[in-house]
Amino acid sequence: MMKGNLLIVDDEPILLKNLRANLEEYADEIFVANNGLEALEIIAKEDIHCIICDINMPKMNGVEVIKRIREQNNDVPFIFYTGHGNKELMFEAIKYGAFDFLNKPYFDGLEEVVSRGMKNGFSRNVPTDDTVEMMSEYQRLLQGLEK
């Protein structure tokens, strides 16, 4: 079964290596980029289904990357990992359609989030109405209230 391609963007080589190793089973192919410009080049050439990106990078930060990608009408799911003090950048990222946020350095729930992101990215060419998803989430919230 096809899983899709994942792109990891970070300026720290050790983190790139570790993430790649942890996420191998969740993607058909994993691409890595050391900065935003490299990421844009990969996206221009490859069919990427999900991006996991450090929000705070020198030169071109994660928000700039998502902004440039969205300008190309590409709505690929974007998972940002963020550290303490990145709230302003997170607010900026939300405007461009962030899929999820992960806390650096613990990456709690990394595999689950990436798995959802890949699934979402793989099916994004199929026209869907997100209100259906919202409605089921709503039902879940209502059930929670009932309890």
Partner: protein
């Protein structure tokens, strides 16, 4: 930009009279006519005045419901809604309109120029050349008047009212239609902020209950009497217990908000910004809040403003509403994490009326009301909900057009009063025509008289003339004596006195 005046109705003569006056006086306004609803005329602009004609074939109930809904929306609070009625009986039948957002009335057949000047002044504070009315002054008559108010709900041992009356008194005196003998009641809570109607204050009042062991001459009620009344008048109530807030900047979903109000068990309150609704949150505690997110620069409904809004919500104990964000490109989970609030749902789609109704319906089906409420809530179209809260004033001056008085109470502008002396009429509090330091010092208030037929106005005119001649003239016009008869009688009396 020219101020817009809308007429909703089907009376070509009224339209002609208004247009003639505007042309004749060269008033710089845009007069528009429509046979559509108040929401339709307010959807794309905010008119200064909307004249709603109840004498034609338009659906009376729908007109009133829509004005009630619109006047609760902050950006429409400035719109003056004027009710055009066929006669005084018609006004008496619809007296609850003054708590539904109407602040001026007009009995057809009266002077259209006068209506135009009055409504224009209330809406814009611009004075158009008024005729000089005969003025009776130096009167100092102590009378009781009342402020048009509404009962919003009835509980087993009391009732809740909404009003523009601000008082810290332990009792309120009033007249109402439910138990007409009940004219005073103890305030058990309030004043707090009103939320059902476009009024400012809310009070809870206690029914004086019959104590079988005590001898009492005052009017009191048995619990069974209240229960029987509630059973017999079940059609006056609505099942709406909870509210939804709809926050959307462009008024594009004004109609959708009304659909919720009309078609679901929810009351709907519509706001243009998160800030606008913040002050109402604690009081109303809506379980569902729909927010159309807008991320254009510094927009009041941006996600950053939402974070502050959520911080306000968190301060309210045992309150955890579901926030439904539309026009939101990010996922639910991303926003939940950013705002640190779990009951958030996001959709990239724009807000839709059908979606709001669907959410409200599902919520109602689960019977999850946040309020443990056993009250009977009056329908906004119930004619039984009117309550006139009494207070004392001292009338200093009067013309056939306005009444000047002093009172201790703080009355907001455009509050509608119901006068019973010198005759039955309604009057709307207006700013002073002239900045007069003495009058401000004396807490002098001015109210424009309306809701009077031409025939009765003649009676008032003659009373004013009599008061000018003799300030001691009785401050009363008998319901049975209007027109020249009253003048003849009074001048005869005066003649005798002089002899």
């Amino acid at each position: 930009m020219k101020k817009q005046l809308y007429y909703i109705g089907t009376d070509p003569d009224f339209i002609k009279d208004m247009k003639n006056y505007i042309l004749e006086k060269n008033v710089q306004v845009e007069f528009l006519e429509s046979q559509d609803t108040p929401i339709a005329v307010c959807e794309n602009s905010i008119p200064a005045v909307v004249y709603v004609d109840f004498t034609g074939t338009l659906d009376e109930d729908l007109l009133i419901r829509q004005v009630t809904y619109l006047k609760k929306i902050p950006c429409y609070k400035t719109v003056l809604f004027v009710a055009l009625l066929s006669d005084e009986q018609h006004l008496s039948d619809l007296d609850y309109i003054f708590t539904s957002g109407f602040q001026l009335s007009f009995i057809k057949g009266g002077e259209v120029p006068s209506l135009f000047r009055d409504s224009f002044y209330i809406a814009t504070n611009e004075v158009l050349s008024y005729p000089s009315y005969a003025l009776a002054q130096g009167l100092y008559r102590k009378i009781t008047t009342s402020i048009c108010s509404t009962i919003t709900s009835i509980e087993a041992n009391g009732f809740t009212v909404e009003t523009d009356f601000e008082s810290n008194a332990s009792n309120l005196s009033f007249s109402q239609k439910i138990f007409p003998e009940l004219v005073t009641a103890e305030v058990t809570a309030g004043p707090s902020q009103a939320s059902r109607y476009s009024l400012t204050k809310s009070y809870q009042l206690m029914f004086p209950m019959t104590d079988p062991w005590a001898e009492s001459t005052a009017f009191s009620l048995l619990p069974e009497t209240i229960e029987t009344w509630l059973d017999l008048h079940n059609d006056q109530f609505t099942v709406k217990k909870d509210s939804v807030f709809v926050i959307e900047a462009s008024s594009e979903f004004l109609r959708a908000g009304f659909d919720v109000e009309y078609n679901t068990q929810f009351a709907s309150l519509y706001f243009q910004s998160l800030e606008e609704c913040s002050s109402m949150i604690d009081n109303v505690r809506p379980p569902l809040i729909f927010i159309e997110i807008n991320e254009t620069d510094n927009h009041p409904n941006s996600i950053q403003r939402l974070e502050r809004f959520v911080a306000e919500i968190r301060k309210i104990k045992a309150y955890n509403p579901i926030l439904i964000l539309t026009n939101m490109p990010s996922s639910t989970v991303a926003v939940q994490k950013l705002i640190s609030y779990e009951s958030i749902l996001c959709s990239l789609n724009r807000m839709q009326g059908s979606l709001i109704c669907k959410f409200a319906e599902l919520y109602s089906n689960k019977k999850l009301s946040l309020k443990e409420d056993t009250s009977y809530l009056f329908s906004s179209s119930s004619k039984m909900r009117t309550i006139d809260i009494n207070f004392g004033i001292v009338v200093n001056k009067i013309t056939e057009h306005e009444i000047f008085f002093r009172c201790e109470e703080n009355l907001p502008m455009n509050t509608v009063l119901h006068f019973h002396e010198p005759m039955e009429f309604y009057a709307t509090i207006i700013p002073s025509f002239v900045e007069n330091a003495v009058e401000i010092e004396n807490k002098m208030k001015i109210a424009l008289i309306h809701g009077v037929s031409e025939e009765k106005l003649e009676g008032l005119r003659q009373l004013v003339n009599l008061l000018i001649v003799n300030p001691n003239t009785e401050f009363k016009i008998s319901e049975d004596h209007f027109g020249s008869e009253i003048l003849e009688n009074k001048t005869e009396e005066l003649g005798k006195e002089k002899l």
